[in-house]
């Protein structure tokens, strides 16, 4: 699991180790209150091969810390514990259910001369509570999206079922956590929206409404293009988690074979007389296959009375993806899928090419893009809209940033400062590496800019950011 990125420093070979996951466990102290029954508290433990007593010890320690700190502030229990070697994060998503994640601090291994064992330097201040706290919360949200809350499994099948579900879900999910590349964007957990002109947007609206009308089983629809959201019929919080799943797991899994050329050139399906490129990303890979299974992942979303269970059908044509959600109590049949394919396939194909056309027109009119002197991250708490010119496209395996981790750390620090106060703020930092980092907060919006201007002074940097706001954010109320 260790990711190693060697770094050159002062002629000596040093090894730098990025933060990594040590433990991840879920427990409920009320399940084994008596001595000798401590094991019953543990619902899930990673890594599973850890010896039982050690599991019990670690869980007990966490329980004790939480209990102890609660005496100081009953309403806000401890969120994290900093130690030299690692950091622990505590999260109680449902009453008495605790999720704990233990992250090993990044460290530098300095080789010693004379064959002595290398010196290890832990960089305990390098990781941010906000970032990993958000990762833990995201773990829970993702579990809840596919399984419903812990309480639901308890109601239907008791502890055993819950443990099964946790095992099944987290065994795979934890492998997809890439703690070394978590950063400010994980704190935001935002949604990237696809910029689109009004007319095309209305066409998409029209498409969604028509599909929902003719296939009345469909309860909610979400529409994405290029992995960016355009329309969500789901409420914001559910969409946030679903979006995360789609963009970091489902889409990358399907785009990689495409990129690898296995599927390409895409064979257009012939339905009626209309050529279309639609296909199911969840459910049957090939409708024509007589053996095809019509099973779709189920998801849980908030509803007026708690939560509801839905089938998640993801259907994609070229770069446009539509998620259709159907009440889970209804069986999705072959006929329905064929009907959907016949109806949605041609329309979605057409829309996708429309959007693509509009997009290229807009890009052309906005002029040739020069490599800007700055990079930025924008986030709006109100609609969760995020925009980053720092991050490259996300793939299933890793999220790439184009700036040095130190700068990302500064961004995270500024974000923590912003979180402490309600008022609008602006922070300008000169980084060690001659970069300027500017953070601005206006009402519910945050903007982080990294400028690469070596000899600029504070006033020039301020002017530069003003210019950026005027060009990039002129249509929102963003105070200078």
């Amino acid at each position: 699991m260790l990711m190693i990125s060697p770094k050159m420093a002062s002629g000596m070979q040093e090894k730098q180790y990025t933060p990594c996951l040590l433990n991840f466990f879920i427990y409920n102290p009320t399940f084994g209150p008596r001595e000798g029954e401590e094991e019953k508290k543990i619902l899930f433990y990673h890594p599973s091969e850890v010896e039982k007593n050690e599991k019990i010890r670690n869980v007990g320690l966490c329980e004790a810390i939480v209990q102890f700190t609660r005496t100081f502030c009953p309403t806000k229990p401890a969120k994290s514990l900093h130690t030299q070697k690692n950091r622990q994060f505590f999260f109680e998503p449902e009453e008495n259910f605790w999720i704990v994640m233990v992250v090993r601090n990044p460290m530098i291994e300095k080789p010693n001369k004379d064959g002595k064992p290398p010196t290890i330097e832990y960089q305990e201040e390098e990781i941010l509570d906000t970032v990993y706290g958000a990762v833990v919360r995201q773990c829970y949200s993702m579990y809840k999206l596919f399984n419903g809350p812990f309480g639901r499994a308890m109601e239907t099948g008791g502890v055993e079922l819950l443990m099964q579900k946790l095992e099944k879900f987290f065994y795979r999910y934890l492998q997809t956590l890439h703690l070394q590349s978590c950063d400010l964007l994980d704190v935001f957990g935002g949604i990237s929206f696809f910029p689109l002109d009004k007319m095309t947007y209305l066409k998409i609206q029209s498409f969604v409404n028509r599909v929902e009308e003719s296939l009345s089983l469909i309860k909610y629809t979400a529409f994405l293009y290029n992995d960016q959201l355009i329309w969500s019929g789901l409420e914001q919080d559910d969409m946030r988690t679903l979006y995360k799943y789609l963009t970091t797991s489902l889409f990358p899994r399907h785009s990689e074979p495409e990129l690898a050329g296995r599927d390409s050139p895409l064979r257009p399906e012939v339905a009626g007389n209309l050529l279309h490129y639609g296909r199911f990303l969840t459910g049957p890979a090939n409708l024509k296959d007589p053996e095809a299974k019509f099973r779709f992942p189920k998801i849980f979303v908030a509803s007026e009375d708690g939560y509801e269970e839905l089938h998640l059908i993801v259907y994609k044509a070229m770069s446009a993806a539509a998620c259709f959600m159907i009440n889970a109590s209804v069986e999705v049949t072959r006929e329905f899928c064929e009907q959907l394919d016949g109806l949605v396939g041609p329309q979605l194909t057409l829309l996708a090419s429309d959007i693509c056309e509009q997009f290229t027109i807009n890009r052309r009119t906005s002029g040739p893009e020069k490599e800007p002197q700055f990079k930025f991250i924008y986030f709006n708490h109100m609609n969760l809209a995020e925009k980053s010119t720092i991050h490259m496209r996300k793939t299933a395996s890793v999220c790439l940033t184009s700036v040095h981790p130190d700068l990302m750390k500064i961004l995270g620090d500024i974000n923590c400062d912003f979180a402490r106060v309600d008022e609008d703020e602006e922070i300008i930092v000169k980084a060690m590496t001659d970069y300027w980092v500017v953070g601005k907060k206006s009402d519910q919006r945050e903007l982080y800019v990294i400028l690469n201007q070596k000899n600029a002074n504070l006033i020039e940097v301020n002017e530069e950011v003003k210019r950026l706001c005027a060009t990039q954010f002129n249509n929102i109320f963003f105070l200078d």
């Binding site: 409404n209 028509r210 929902e212 109100m382 809209a385 609008d424 919006r445 200078d480």
Partner: protein, 632 residues
């Protein structure tokens, strides 16, 4: 069945003394007057026009049987034809001598087939050997020959609207020569030949006057030819063949209307529809030549609607008002005594009635299932507005609710017409602005027909009641509203804010704030101050509305005062101050409200900061930190 009669006779027919052995009845298509001539005029001539003003009664000497009698336009001069050689004239202009004067046709041995007035003092004689065009001088009581044309004529037809006379020439009669008359001039339009179903041998007159009519349809002149079914040709029924007669250029066969039956037919034009009456089945068919059936160069068309008879008509028994209890008598429709005239006149000489044929639109709604086609049809009719609006309501609610694609098609069709009108208005306005000398003279102000259904019509008659109706799913309501907005946008029509308010209201009512947020995020709902204020009012239930509203005010760029008010009301005094500076309005803003707001926060430091800021401003502006008493 009763609601399915889409044709009816006008409720107030022109009544005249019915034809009899002593009373001859004539009809003048130009003035639409019926002449009842009793005993050659000696015992009176009663002229009934479409309205009371054009009705006249007079006496004239009986100088023999009247063959034809017509007033010039405006009832100025009366022309009476009694022989085949001459026409007599009587002045009806006050103060002019009333004695008759006579004009014989100039061509020797020719006999007059008839005459037509083309203006108040210009008249055309049509003889079997040509046409003679005269100007009448009522004061001098004589005529001057303006033009003449020599050509063999079998029969003729006259279209008063366009002042075009159509002459049937050649032995078979199927070569038609149209002549246009205007301001003392005759112009020959291109002649054309009508294809006969069978060519007779030996040649003889085969094209009957009865089978040809002229009319203007959608502003264009057409010759309609009723082509009877021939046993040799394998066509299943008779056809009406339309020839388009442009002002310039050759005449072209343009449409073939399939009647799918045989028998006796008569033609009318009502509201630009070709109505074909079929006597034996006592039904009528209608055709709309603008409904496109795009398969070949000559547009072959089927009837728009299934054949139906004219709405039953009852004749109120005229008579003295003393016995009003007499029940009205049903009138025999499609009677053999009916005469049909262009464009929309039906006369029963034996009963003494002249009706105008009318189209009733409401029954067509049920008969035409395809809503897109129905809209195309309705949008071209004269009194269509309320029917269209009722169709719109119908497809949104109740048992006949249509699917969204149909709703979208209907909206698109309405907005196409709406857009065309707006564009015409705009170019007219531009022309007027560019200079009264040229622009306004060449361009007429566009006429707003009933087919122009604007947003306020839709809002008042359809959408507002529909959105409040119980039992309609809100999903459908929102989908319909968005579809209408999409359609307006597609035709680049500025959407009125009340439509957006309807959308917002519906979304808010069902707690779909996140949907609303997304619409605003993509600027689907256009910015406006009323909308921004509406959003502000939602802040209590949906906090993000505050940000949405401020963004909108900012984009409007004319709402800086409002932004300051909003910020101050939130006690964001520094924010307000920074904003007012950023837009450069710091110098002329009133310090009082800022200081007031700062004081209300109870934050002394804040108050001091604001106060100092204004002092510095004063210093900069007036060289003194003091506040001006007046402008404080």
């Amino acid at each position: 069945m009763a609601e399915e009669h889409y044709l009816e006779l006008s409720e107030n027919p022109v009544q005249f003394e019915h034809a009899s052995s002593v009373n001859n009845v004539f009809f003048d298509e130009a003035n639409k007057q019926v002449f009842a001539v009793r005993s050659g005029g000696a015992t009176g001539v009663v002229v009934k026009g479409p309205d009371d003003k054009s009705s006249v009664a007079f006496r004239m000497d009986d100088k023999g049987e009247v063959k034809c009698i017509k007033f010039s336009i405006g009832n100025k001069i009366l022309a009476v034809q009694r022989t085949s050689k001459s026409v007599d004239f009587i002045n009806f202009i006050p103060d002019y001598p009333h004695t008759e004067f006579t004009q014989e046709c100039k061509t020797r041995n020719a006999s007059i087939l008839g005459f037509c007035w083309t203006s108040w003092n210009e008249i055309v004689f049509i003889t079997d050997q040509g046409v003679e065009f005269y100007q009448v001088f009522p004061d001098k009581r004589n005529l001057k020959l303006l033009k003449s044309q020599s050509i063999n004529v079998n029969w003729y037809q006259y279209c008063p609207e366009t002042a075009v006379i159509l002459l049937s020439t050649t032995v078979q009669g199927n070569v038609l020569q149209p002549l246009a008359f205007k301001n003392g001039n005759v112009s020959k339009m291109s002649k054309f030949e009508i294809e006969l179903p069978v060519i007779p041998k030996p040649a003889k007159l085969s094209l009957s006057e009865r089978d040809v009519a002229m009319a203007t349809i959608y502003g264009q002149l057409y010759v309609m030819y009723l082509k009877h079914h021939s046993r040799t040709a394998n066509s299943p029924g008779a056809e009406v063949v339309l020839y388009h007669l442009p002002r310039e250029g050759p005449c072209k066969k343009s449409h073939v209307l399939k009647l799918n039956t045989t028998g006796k037919f008569a033609l009318n034009i009502v509201d630009n529809l070709v109505v074909v009456h079929h006597q034996s089945s006592q039904t009528s068919l209608i055709f709309d030549i603008r409904l496109k059936e795009p398969d070949c160069s000559v547009n072959t068309q089927q009837p728009v609607l299934p054949a139906r008879s004219i709405h039953p008509y009852r004749i109120p028994l005229s008579g003295s008002a003393v016995v009003p209890s007499q029940p009205p008598v049903p009138c025999q429709l499609y009677s053999s005594s009916w005469s049909v005239f262009q464009p929309d006149i039906i006369i029963s000489a034996s009963e003494g009635y002249l009706w105008y044929l009318q189209v009733k639109l409401p029954p067509t709604v049920k008969l035409l299932q395809d809503k897109g086609k129905l809209m195309d049809f309705l949008l071209r009719r004269r009194d269509c507005k309320m029917v269209i609006l009722s169709v719109c309501s119908q497809i949104l609610e109740g048992s006949e609710k249509a699917e969204l694609p149909v709703v979208a098609t209907v909206f698109d069709k309405l907005n196409q017409v709406y857009k065309d009108y707006l564009e015409a208005e705009q170019s007219y306005a531009a022309a007027v602005e560019s200079g009264p000398s040229r622009g306004a003279a060449t361009q007429k102000r566009p006429v707003r027909t009933q087919a122009v259904i604007d947003q306020s019509d839709m809002y008042t008659h359809v959408l507002s009641s529909f959105s409040e109706r119980k039992g309609v799913s809100h999903k459908f309501i929102i989908a319909v509203l968005m579809e209408y907005i999409r359609s307006l946008n597609q035709y680049q029509i500025t959407v009125q804010h009340y439509l957006y308010e309807l959308v917002i209201k519906t979304l808010v009512q069902h707690n779909h704030f996140y949907m609303l947020h997304q619409f605003l995020q993509y600027h689907v709902l256009n910015d406006s101050k009323p909308l921004a204020c509406l959003l502000l009012s939602l802040e209590g239930t949906y906090p993000p509305a505050h940000q949405l509203s401020l963004d909108m005010l900012k984009r409007l760029s004319t709402a800086n005062d409002e932004i300051v008010e909003v910020l101050l009301s939130k006690q964001q005094v520094l924010g307000a101050l920074r904003f007012i500076r950023s837009v450069g309005a710091h110098d002329n803003v009133s310090a009082r409200k800022f200081l007031d707001a700062a004081r209300q926060t109870g934050d002394q430091m804040l108050f001091y900061t604001v106060f100092r800021s204004f002092q510095q401003r004063n210093q900069r502006l007036r060289g003194s930190p003091a506040f001006n008493p007046g402008t404080f």
